[in-house]
Symmetry: C2
């Protein structure tokens, strides 16, 4: 079946611009909050029935053109040997933070089927549930972003602790990055083998690096992971999203993904021009604009579609994850607007 989302990933013509929303299964949906009353975040991630339920919610409620596996980028990290907790008001906490070569040596490489079987099981169920509706995107953190969390042990404004280790102990940093790269490579591959029809790598913090440092400390690893996934799964689209990528667009492209996720600070036309039109792009509405009245939101949607210029290879999305206080009706309206405004006569 030739879904618009997958066609757009391959830069083929579609009848309308496909759209999905980063974090489309989330707290802005009352149906999601209902599930969260029964089980905490990690339990939802680890219980296939619940994972499937929340993954399907935005398909039913919003009518988006792709489902994305409900998960957390830190899910595989836990199986490498760190304790993961979500603490209210603080976010994820990983213990112990990785600060030494001994700590890196202690990390294992998970076996996806044994250690992350719940993810693969969810994917298998989801494929059955979604058949004929929309394709399923797999979900994976990029090595640099995962290293940031693993070294800091928690979220940070600037990840200066992680960058400090990177600069002061590059051998520890690279050993850690190698292990993460192997983990995400086989994890992403396993998701595709289980049924994911595309995979997105999230590199939320790589935009904190200068060009020289991105080139040296982040790019080789994500490139290796993408290359592995592509080699093992010919033709399956890989999406690479970096938040704050405006100074490193050319390097981001050289990582080799089929689709590049753009944050909202780019003008989409300029960014696509800079990247070259031989790669698909995904984005890039500011998540905060979903607070606008719908007539103004519509102008923003129109503007992005105009900048994409009807060129094959644009997947509409936000430039970052949807925010928990977003009005549900505006998320629904967004999907309708994209479909309606982009539909070819």
């Amino acid at each position: 079946m030739d879904y618009p989302f997958l066609r757009a990933c391959r830069r083929k013509e579609t009848d309308y611009t496909p759209v999905w929303i980063m974090r489309q299964a989330g707290r802005y949906l009352e149906e999601y909050r209902e599930v969260q009353k029964k089980a905490d975040f990690m339990t939802v991630c680890k219980t296939p029935d619940l994972t499937v339920e929340v993954t399907l919610q935005p398909i039913r409620i919003l009518g988006v053109d792709a489902a994305i596996l409900f998960s957390d980028i830190l899910t595989p990290v836990e199986t490498m040997g760190l304790k993961l907790q979500f603490i209210k008001g603080k976010g994820p906490v990983l213990e112990p933070p990785v600060k030494s070569m001994q700590a890196v040596d202690r990390l294992g490489i998970p076996d996806p089927e044994d250690d992350l079987g719940f993810v693969l099981e969810s994917i298998r169920i989801l494929r059955k549930e979604l058949e004929g509706k929309v394709p399923l995107i797999g979900f994976c953190g990029a090595p640099f972003t995962l290293a940031c969390y693993m070294i800091e042990g928690e979220t940070s404004k600037d990840y200066s602790g992680a960058k400090r280790l990177m600069f002061q102990a590059p051998h520890i940093f690279s050993a850690l990055m190698e292990k993460i790269t192997e983990t995400v490579s086989i994890y992403a591959d396993a998701q595709i083998k289980a049924g994911a029809q595309a995979i997105q790598f999230f590199d939320t913090w790589a935009g904190l690096l200068s060009r020289a440092d991105y080139r040296k400390y982040a790019l080789p690893y994500i490139k290796k992971a993408i290359s592995y996934v592509k080699k093992q799964n010919k033709g399956v689209p890989v999406i690479y999203y970096v938040n704050g990528s405006s100074t490193i667009l050319d390097l981001v492209k050289s990582a080799g993904s089929s689709v590049i996720g753009l944050d909202w600070r780019h003008d989409l036309d300029t960014a696509w021009e800079a990247l070259g039109h031989n790669v698909a792009v995904q984005g890039n509405l500011d998540p905060c604009t979903l607070f606008l009245p719908q007539d103004q939101l519509k102008k923003r949607v129109k503007d992005i579609l105009k900048r994409a210029g009807g060129r094959p290879g644009h997947i509409f999305n936000l430039g970052h994850g949807i925010l928990p206080p977003t009005p549900r009706e505006n998320a629904i309206a967004l999907v309708e607007m994209v479909h309606q405004l982009s539909r070819k006569k």
Copy 2:
């Protein structure tokens, strides 16, 4: 007296590249930590003797080419009528957060001499102390960044609460921005009248805006403030620093400052080229690179100087504030390196 820093602000030739460090008076200096044992942060900001002491420390210890008034961007905000506290592990907290037109109406416009006399007094003392050594830079938050803090009431990862108000209640947002703009305009002017020989506007969060939103919600206000300051003080350099400005460089330039502060994600040569060489630039070493061994730090310094190309109008600085755990000896070495490597035969 024709100081290298002021000459560089005016794009005149200098014998070497002048250098100062954002947050150069700070916790990375044991001398600063000694002062903080006697008095908390706000007390240091409000007590001229202590302000003067910590402002002078980096001149003596590092040999930087400019002093910058030790202060906080929220100092004038407190005098507008919000309660400001610094809470350990959380940062600044402003109460009550500004969320309604009533809250905006309650805000006052401070009289710098009456309400911020301690700042002006510090500047007058500093000018005497610094005479013949280095010039003094005044210190001011830019309107958008101050609005972010005033609406959120505390630091935030993405200031989505502030942007939400901006989108949902633009009349409240613009009324707030008008009051902030008036405040910072007369505050910056008063600092110059008291003796500051240049003024820097810090716009830490404007990089969270898309181009369209920066143009609409931030630019007109900072432009107005800069224009006021320039008109009142002919020839006094205005520095405008925006963190994460790569997609809005042309707009940042149109705000009208004499010097543009660049963060570390830009390559300095590309950014200066994009800005045009008819404006001076300040930056842009990644603060985290001060954790590198000195031989590698030196390569980074060389690289930035090379990108500046010996062109008049480059002031060396970090791309963001120096980090508290920075090794003091590396900060000292940085200043020496810049002077030594840039000195003309």
